[in-house]
Symmetry: C2
Subunit: 450 residues, 2 copies
């Protein structure tokens, strides 16, 4: 009765899996917001290196992982796959539950899987500095960590309210050498304009994105890095699912259903995409994206062209969206508060290959607490969504009296989220009503394309 399935260092995947050639339809083109025409690679060169732009549209199924990236991956990869024996016993389920644990990275989540290659490719392109935005700080930490390995400077525009209220991840970014700027700032034109209009603004992720993009676009030695949504980010995260597949094979298992938390989509893509081909080849397997009920992009949004940010600076992409000016309620799973979703996850959802389900946050924390008191690890609030999906599936298995094999991704630990647990234990956690009116009004503002 094995608890932990471990791979050797030389079993870290040698190539990322690119789902694009295995999608039923061709990839919907991305639109340049200034011209209204399909975006060309050159449109992106001011902020991304060509190697990553190529990955964004590559039709190659396997893309080699550079040896130096694999060396850094080795610090925490291959990550362990666990059989959740104690959780199964607590649920009295005939289901076998496995979880892939990505909280073993120094930043505590799956984000370094893409931060490391993004930093490396930019280094190869001669870039000296990367600018990015961060909300609570998960992504900013991961990029700061990655850049510290490759000698690249990091500028993080951190949403001002998080900068002042949640200093711990800010400190962590600084420990790794990053320059952390409360956003909006005086450093950018967009920041100055917003500060002039509303000096007391708490800031927003949309503003911070705009500042980081402007910073990158206006400095020759500086590029921009994004922690989710984009195709190359989803690509890099497939190391998760590729390893998990091999580990399940070693345990003599094939998964019947896979759960991943889904905000921008890269974590879900990481665990699920490597199984898309098996599904295309006839394997009976469900791939379920789990999202918060208060930001139900895949379950309540529309499949349409929309902007990636509130300031309309980013390319227009076909995706499930709640409207680019929808601001989700302040749930603790900050990493899942995004109005849209990865183009790849969205298209797979539209084609019926990917399922989606949404849960309110109290139900997710309840599942997280059951998990941590049986398995020991304290999950990040984002990861608790995948746990809730797996727990419900295991309960159904019990009710139906049928075995099945469940896999989920435990994308990060909750060490920096203790106030969320405190609120839950004290009964102070709010389940926001489905923001129907807000979504209806923001969906009225979608751009007209094609």
């Amino acid at each position: 009765m094995q608890t932990k399935i471990v791979l050797r260092d030389d079993q870290i995947p040698k190539a990322w899996y690119n789902v694009i050639p295995d999608m039923p339809g061709s990839l919907a083109p991305v639109i340049n917001p200034r011209t209204g025409a399909p975006a060309a690679p050159e449109d992106l060169t001011p902020i991304f290196p060509m190697s990553l732009i190529e990955q964004e549209v590559s039709e190659q199924r396997w893309i080699e992982i550079p040896e130096e990236v694999r060396k850094v991956y080795q610090l925490w990869r291959p990550s362990p796959l666990y059989r959740a024996h104690r959780l199964e016993a607590a649920l009295k389920t005939p289901a076998r539950i496995y979880y892939k644990y990505e909280g073993v990275s120094p930043a505590g989540s799956h984000k370094p899987n893409t931060a490391i290659p993004q930093s490396w490719y930019n280094k190869q392109a001669g870039i000296k500095r990367l600018a990015t935005e961060t909300g609570a700080g998960q992504w900013g930490c991961s990029l700061a960590l990655a850049n510290s390995f490759f000698g690249i400077e990091t500028t993080v525009y951190m949403v001002r309210v998080s900068f002042t209220q949640k200093p711990y991840r800010k400190n962590l970014m600084e420990v790794w050498g990053a320059d952390v700027i409360p956003s909006p700032s005086e450093l950018t034109e967009v920041g100055r304009r917003i500060l002039e209009e509303s000096p007391d603004t708490p800031g927003s992720l949309g503003i911070a994105i705009s500042e980081a993009v402007e910073d990158a676009a206006t400095h020759d030695d500086t590029n921009y890095a994004l922690g989710s949504v984009l195709n190359h980010v989803c690509l890099h995260q497939t190391v998760i699912g590729l390893e998990a597949k091999e580990q399940l094979r070693m345990a003599g298992e094939k998964p019947d259903v896979i759960f991943g938390a889904c905000g921008g989509g890269s974590n879900f893509a990481g665990i699920a995409f490597p199984f898309v081909r098996d599904k295309a080849n006839g394997q009976d397997i469900r791939l379920v994206a789990v999202e918060p009920a208060s930001c139900p992009t895949l379950t309540k949004g529309v499949y349409a062209y929309d902007y990636g940010d509130i300031a309309k600076l980013t390319p227009i992409t076909k995706m499930y969206t709640l409207g680019h000016d929808f601001v989700p309620p302040g749930i603790h799973a900050g990493g899942l508060r995004y109005h849209g979703d990865s183009a790849l996850v969205s298209q797979l959802r539209h084609e019926g290959i990917v399922d989606a389900v949404a849960y309110p946050q109290n139900a997710c924390f309840e599942a997280a607490l059951l998990f941590t008191r049986s398995e020991g690890i304290v999950p990040a609030p984002e990861s608790s969504h995948a746990i809730k999906g797996a727990v419900d599936e295991a309960v159904r298995a019990r009710e139906e009296g049928r075995e099945r094999t469940i896999l989920f991704c435990l994308s990060g630990h909750g060490n920096f989220d203790m106030t969320a647990y405190e609120d839950y234990l004290a009964g102070r956690l709010v389940d926001y009503a489905y923001p129907e009116e807000l979504i209806r009004s923001s969906l009225a503002n979608l751009p007209e394309v094609g």
Copy 2:
């Protein structure tokens, strides 16, 4: 050029290593504080199960690890051993630096190595609840985690000033189901007496120990658990060094020098004791305990009989001590703020088998920052002491132009210590002067024994 050396689950040690039979002299007897005579096992049965009392004095070199304890160890053990290639490069040293990383446990430190067996042995003895004390919360968290696996209740008396000022580890204990009480409390006689005398007291570890011991001694179904100092705690921690020895063997290495941070002594014992026999058998190897300059027990204390706590409730033990009423300055490495030291570590130090060195906290944080910016992992302030020892040794190797193999224990991560790093980066961290006067006066209060 391997970065990480990993063992299989079936290579988790099957027995702990007991250093007692390999000590040059026999173990100095422990004195009952009430009778002044050597303590009998029965003196301890009100608060410890007989199995642990037996381990306290066992002459057996190898003590079998129960299968159920090994199963829980599997959640994070065997822990990885890393070759610090990037740190070596940053130091331009010919030394080869290896570190054993214990922060991979769900509690984030080495403490669960003993919390798990302590909880398990108490469960076997029919105990329903364990009482303990905690300062910043590292030990309280580890015991709460362990007890959650075996269905034992946890009562943690947490020093009041930490309870109010550092809520995160308190929340973590509660996530694992513990009942966390600010100490002094109304629940014990000693707590009530102190509150009556000084209602606004911030509390102290000495008071919290007294409350936990009283709680255990006055409830039949309740025992007490201690996170360091005692022989059985050092014994359980030897899994660290036993694994490291096997991992170094796989890398074709024998260590020339080993560093471990030393407060109560169990972390240092864990990494170093398994090499005591090699040293006795003629291997040229230095075992160096690293302590804070503001609490320099092994480097400036005396080897004498003293109490383990300020309230004189614990047995009188022969050890290096600064006096039981010495209160160390408020350094961030809270886990190293103990006036005394493990009897075993002390006796080995007295016999010249163990070396010791002391560093001020700014030097340790400087080493920690160098480490985290080259190796990625953010160390706990306690662990930074071992890093500083290793870094200095590596610099000496460079200056002497001589290779050597250095091993140190990275006992935990610093995720809950971000304010300490913030203070260091802002230049606010104080290096306390060596508290000579305080130590002189507390050393005047040693008990007269034998």
